[in-house]
């Protein structure tokens, strides 16, 4: 028993020896008699377990040699054995039953062994009334189900996917139904009983779990023609059994469309709902029934009847009970499945009253789960069941209302109001809301440490906010004024509170006495109100132009007759005044008023900063404000009437093109940005959101045209160019983005004088300062002075920002501008050769320029860039070869340099894949006819670069995952693009390249080995093309053939051998023929293989057919 003994009793060798004995025993030939003997006599559980395993493995192994009768008697023996020994250890019993199941499945196709006799036996066991025996019966059924499900629970018996699939099909039509019926009978029996003792409860639970397993069966479609996709289906079914929607075949109609079955599960749940384990199973069964779809429904009417019954059952179940914590997720799953499975047409065909009470129930549940979720947050629970359930229900609402045109008009308005109100209530502080209140009304308020990795609420809760925003649109009449009112109220209070603090500070001058509790509550209220407003008023689609949501547009149009435009504009234009103090403020457009409420918040914030109260403000609220304004500006600013069927007058008057309103608000936003950048330079996230707002304002030409008319814009540009405080205190990423925005703005529409002046104030100072500095005679002496270093770093950062601003229509001028700098940068490399931080930044400038511009450059311009990059690499190499440093950061520094250099090389190579220079004419007139004086090619630069990188690379450096990835990406690119250059490489370089490939194939991640294999195929083609047999490349490639063959990738030379082996393993004549035919047609088109693209495509196509045809045979489990 050495293999089981505790470590203190046996040595490792003894343990291994013991394990070896068992392993070889399991491989012994025809061990049946021995095993039977062991089973009957041994008292050691582990030995019994091994004997059962040996029987199972031997039956599968020696199947061909076994007679049907002896197999059947083996099954009988095993079943009888288990029946007679009720006290067996659970794991031994299950192993024996597993053996039975495997044998039955193995025989189900060719020896016509079936489950009938077993089912007969099982039903007798069930009717015995003895709980132990009933549990055993359940175990038998479970074992069969797991084996035939062909899922990840299935044992590996070395047969093809097609075999598993056929067994499963056969099973699901007949035996599965039998199992289900047996299970239903048991459940019925139990649900009728009054009192269940503990033992009977256990049996009940087993059968309930079994029912759940049947209802989670991943049904295979009944047809026998396999498509390629279906082969994938086979493979996928072995992986996951989670979240399977119930899609039974038509033959299940009688069983599952019988209402009594569904009723049974409702009854069962009612009976056991207080037992949290069992309740999970019963609710999951119901959730599966709620996901039922497919051919089981003969027509829509059947679906309707089924859904109506399901809904009635559900409502009966929920109404009048107090939901247990453990039920929340299950119930929300039922609802979510039901709403996402049944088509709208069926939902709308439900009796009105039923649908109305369902919606009513859903509304109450959502509100109640939302409140419980908030409580969970206050208590900081680990297991957030209500949060999960709430998320599910909000998702269901989104599904429902997104297609609300199918439903009676307005039927979701009242529910939306309720859900929206409860969400707001949960997120506001007392007395309006219940935030941070525990169940008994005690407020809890803890300040926790939040690190930079924690997501902002706007992302963390984006799904919830999107649903709530959608519901807010549905009930815009209620929700928009509600948000406005609350926000205006909070802003007024915040203003007052800040004023009190200011007076207090002036009196006592001790900021330590300020109680932040009231302020923080206001900030948190405003935080949520702004987030909800942002999600309600606008979407944030990536890449597309966001439209004003139709509900919001309609809402504004509906009320436009009652609206006084001038008052609306006055309200918008006076963010410093209280909204309610403006006469006629109730006759203003509500959508604009909500925006102006946010502007009022912004104004209070700005004024507080001017009054030196920045300490008291919340940077989070600052972020919320600029986040909202950015989202709003993308959608509403300069609203384009052509995009809408109908447009609201107030909106187009206030924000349309060529309106004073639009100009005013652009000016206001700009002022906000400038103020933020100077007072919030110490808050990196807020500064970043702010500068992103600025980019939004200038990245679209129409908006930029207005921006550049603002004096403030020019001031900002001058201030930044002069590198004076406070802008230079911003973090480097913010400075880059700011530079990017300033450059983008320069491409707005201006007359040529203005344009010239603009560039003279934005870009030229940069150039001038830089040139003045580096052209000083004593530059070499002063270069180490701190002020000089700061200036150089600021310039390099600005260059990165300029490169980031590259767009197709400005690349021509930006490229020329940057090229001048790049040459000077090479000089800097020399001067700062011993300052790694500067060297790193210089390389980064080159990376950015190549990344953003190479795809637009024509031949001459590309050549220039290649040349300057080549020089950079030469200088880098000269200064770093043989260099040795003392400090611990040396490796990290070198890693960062190398990573950047490889990025640079990859960017240069990307020209071969992505090249817009032919299709556009951005350089027309500038490009001289070239080609003749072609000095450098991308290949030269890149290979030279690799030459530099390789000697500096080490296996230790490859342990940095990002570096490793970038390195192999680069060499794969090179092999793919310049295979002809590889044989010409210097010997050392060639060798290290091949070493890298081998290392990558054998000892790196699968992603890396795939890259290496991709690199190999063009090299092999190169060999095939040249037909020379003893070149180093040929030898190397042959070596790789062997390496890759060991990784079981059949390549040409080994192909026929492999086919032979595969065929000779096939004993079934029909399958043999199918395989042989498939192989023949696979190679028919492409022997002997040539290398052109057409051939390759043809081969890939035949390979696909091949996989579809016999893939199921060749994949084995």
């Amino acid at each position: 028993m050495c293999s089981q003994a505790p470590p203190s009793m046996v040595s490792t060798e003894q343990r291994q020896h013991a394990e070896h004995i068992f392993l070889s025993f399991r491989k012994s030939k025809s061990p049946f008699a021995v095993c039977k003997h062991i089973l009957e006599t041994s008292k050691v559980d582990y030995v019994l377990f091994q004997a059962a395993t040996a029987i199972m493995e031997a039956v599968v192994r020696e199947w061909i040699l076994l007679e049907k009768s002896s197999i059947e008697s083996l099954i009988t023996f095993l079943l009888t054995y288990v029946l007679q020994r009720p006290n067996l250890q659970k794991y031994v019993r299950e192993q024996i039953l597993l053996a039975v199941a495997v044998i039955v499945k193995r025989g189900s196709l060719d020896k016509s062994i079936n489950c009938k006799s077993i089912f007969h036996e099982v039903s007798q066991l069930i009717s015995s009334g003895n709980p132990t025996v009933q549990t055993l019966a359940c175990s038998i059924l479970t074992a069969l189900l797991s084996e035939f499900s062909s899922s990840n629970k299935t044992s590996n018996i070395g047969l093809s996917m097609e075999f598993h699939g056929s067994c499963k099909r056969l099973f699901q039509e007949d035996d599965l139904k039998q199992i289900f019926m047996l299970t239903v009978e048991v459940l019925q029996e139990f649900s009728r009983r009054e009192n269940l003792n503990a033992q009977m409860s256990c049996v009940f639970q087993c059968y309930l779990a079994l029912a759940n397993q049947v209802l989670s069966w991943n049904f295979l479609p009944p047809n026998h023609i396999l498509s390629c996709r279906e082969v994938m289906h086979y493979i996928a079914m072995f992986e996951a059994t989670q979240n399977v929607m119930l899609k039974p075949t038509a033959s299940w109609r009688e069983t599952l469309l019988d209402h009594r079955v569904m009723d049974l599960f409702f009854t069962v749940h009612r009976k056991i709902r207080e037992d949290s384990d069992m309740a999970q199973d019963s609710l999951q069964c119901l959730a599966q029934l709620a996901s039922m779809h497919g051919p089981i429904f003969p027509d829509e009417n059947a679906q309707l009847t089924y859904l109506a019954h399901l809904m009635e059952g559900l409502l009966n179940m929920i109404n009048g009970i107090e939901i247990e914590d453990s039920e929340a997720v299950g119930i929300s799953n039922i609802i979510n499945n039901l709403i996402s499975t049944f088509p709208r047409s069926v939902l709308t065909a439900l009796p009105n009253e039923l649908f109305a009470s369902f919606i009513n129930c859903l509304t109450l549940l959502t509100c109640s789960f939302g409140r419980s979720a908030a409580l969970e947050e206050v208590l900081d629970k680990d297991d957030m069941v209500y949060m999960e359930a709430y998320d599910k229900l909000l998702e269901s609402w989104l599904t429902l209302v997104q297609e609300d045109e199918h439903f009676p008009r307005g039927c979701f308005v009242q529910p939306a109001v309720q859900v929206f109100n409860s969400y707001i209530q949960c997120h506001l502080a007392a007395p309006d809301g219940t935030r941070n209140l525990t169940a008994n009304g005690v407020a809890s308020h803890e300040e926790e440490e939040i690190n930079e990795l924690q997501e902002d609420d706007r992302e963390l809760f984006s799904d919830q906010l999107a649903s709530i925003g959608m519901l807010g649109r549905i009930a815009a009449d209620h929700c928009i004024p509600l948000l406005t009112g609350l926000l205006e109220n909070r802003v007024t209070r915040l203003h007052g509170q800040l004023q009190r603090h200011q007076q207090h500070l002036m009196a006592s001058a001790d900021p330590g006495t300020v109680d932040r509790k009231v302020l923080d509550d206001l900030y948190e209220d405003i935080h949520w109100l702004i987030l909800v407003s942002g999600y309600l008023l606008a979407d944030d689609p990536q890449g597309e132009t966001p439209l004003i949501p139709s509900e919001v547009m309609e809402y504004s149009i509906k009320h436009s007759t009652e609206v006084d435009i001038n008052t609306t504009l006055q309200l918008l234009g006076s963010p410093g005044e209280k909204a309610t103090s403006i006469p006629g403020c109730n006759r203003t457009d509500s959508v604009i008023r909500l925006l102006s409420a946010v502007l009022r918040t912004s104004e209070v914030e700005s004024r507080a900063t001017r009054a030196s109260l920045t300490e008291l403000l919340s940077p989070q609220m600052g972020k919320d404000i600029v986040w909202f304004l950015r989202r709003w500006a993308k959608t509403y600013l300069l609203v384009d009437e052509k995009l809408y069927g109908q447009i609201s007058m107030p909106l187009s008057t206030a924000f349309g093109a060529d309106t004073e309103g639009a100009q005013w608000i652009v000016g206001y936003l700009l002022e906000k940005v400038i103020n933020n950048l100077s007072v919030w330079s110490s808050e990196p996230d807020l500064a970043n959101d702010t500068v992103e707002l600025l980019v939004t304002l200038v990245e679209k030409r129409e908006r930029a045209n207005i921006v550049v008319q603002c004096e403030n814009w020019w001031n900002l540009a001058k201030q930044f160019a002069s590198r004076s405080p406070p802008l230079h205190m911003l973090s480097s990423t913010v400075q880059r983005t700011l530079m990017k925005a300033l450059v983008l703005g320069g491409f707005a529409h201006m007359d040529s004088d203005t344009k010239q002046q603009y560039w003279a104030e934005v870009l030229h100072p940069l150039q001038q300062r830089f040139l003045n500095l580096i052209n000083q005679e004593n530059f070499a002496q002063i270069c180490q002075e701190e002020a000089v270093k700061q200036e150089i770093i600021a310039t390099l950062e600005a260059l990165c920002g300029i490169a980031e601003a590259t767009q197709i229509d400005n690349v021509a001028s930006l490229f020329s501008f940057l090229m001048d700098f790049l040459s000077s940068c090479i000089g800097l490399m020399e001067v700062y050769r011993n300052s790694p931080e500067t060297v790193n930044l210089i390389i980064e400038v080159f990376v950015e320029v190549a990344h953003k511009q190479i795809c637009y450059l024509g031949e001459t311009k590309s050549m220039k860039l290649y040349e300057v990059c080549l020089t950079l690499l030469q200088v880098y190499s000269k200064n770093n070869l043989g260099r040795k440093r003392l400090d611990v950061a040396a490796e990290e520094d070198q890693y960062q340099d190398l990573l950047l250099i490889m990025e640079l090389l990859t960017n240069l190579l990307s020209k071969e894949f992505i090249d817009f220079s032919d299709t556009d004419e951005v350089f027309r007139g500038q490009e001289q006819s070239s080609g003749a004086g072609r000095a450098v090619s991308a290949a030269d630069v890149v290979l030279y670069g690799v030459n530099i990188v390789l000697p500096l690379m080490s296996q230790d450096l490859l342990k940095f995952p990002s570096l490793c990835n970038q390195y192999y990406k680069l060499i794969t690119f090179i092999c793919e693009i310049f295979p002809e250059k590889i044989p010409q490489l210097p010997e050392e370089l060639f060798k290290s390249l091949m070493c890298s490939l081998e290392l990558g194939m054998t000892s790196m991640s699968s992603e890396i080995s795939q890259l290496c294999l991709e690199a190999l195929s063009p090299l092999a083609e190169q060999c095939a093309k040249t037909q020379e047999k003893d070149t180093p490349l040929f030898i190397a490639t042959r070596h790789f053939l062997k390496v890759s063959h060991m990784m079981s990738k059949p390549l040409m030379q080994e192909y026929s051998e492999l086919v032979e082996t595969l065929l000779s393993n096939q004993r079934d004549a029909v399958i043999y023929q199918r395989l042989a035919d498939a192989f023949n047609s696979l190679t028919a088109s492409s022997t002997p293989p040539t290398m052109d693209r057409k051939q390759k495509v043809a081969f890939l196509k035949s390979l696909e057919e091949f996989v579809a045809n016999v893939g199921g045979l060749l994949c084995v489990k």
Partner: protein, 155 residues
Amino acid sequence: MADPDLDFTSGDAGASTTFPMQCSALRKNGFVVLKGRPCKIVEMSTSKTGKHGHAKVHLVGIDIFSNKKYEDICPSTHNMDVPNTKRNDYQLVDISEGFLSLMMDNGDVREDLRVPEGDLGKEIESKFAAGEEMLVTVLSAMGEESAVAVKPMTK
């Protein structure tokens, strides 16, 4: 430590050895004074206390002379001291009694710097013994100086 009489860096005599910078403007790979020592910043992250709190910067630095690790956390609005650092390359002309003889650009030779400890020192000594010509990078900050890197002469 440099002998004041041998002070040849007269260019910045009297200049402050550090200058202030707002915490948020510091950059990774840059320098900062932590616990009175000149450090290279190897890690920089922010955090805040409570959702509406102000940012604090967490800095991890490595002493550029001793390689010791220092950490500090401070409000991001605070100014931190940044050391004025300087790196100069000198040609190695001799090693005697544990001191390097380094030739400056103007032809003068300084002999006040010790051979650094550890691998770098051994490398310098063995290469010098083998007759190789080398450039030694000397880093100075806050009144301290040390040889930190070596590179064979190219020509």
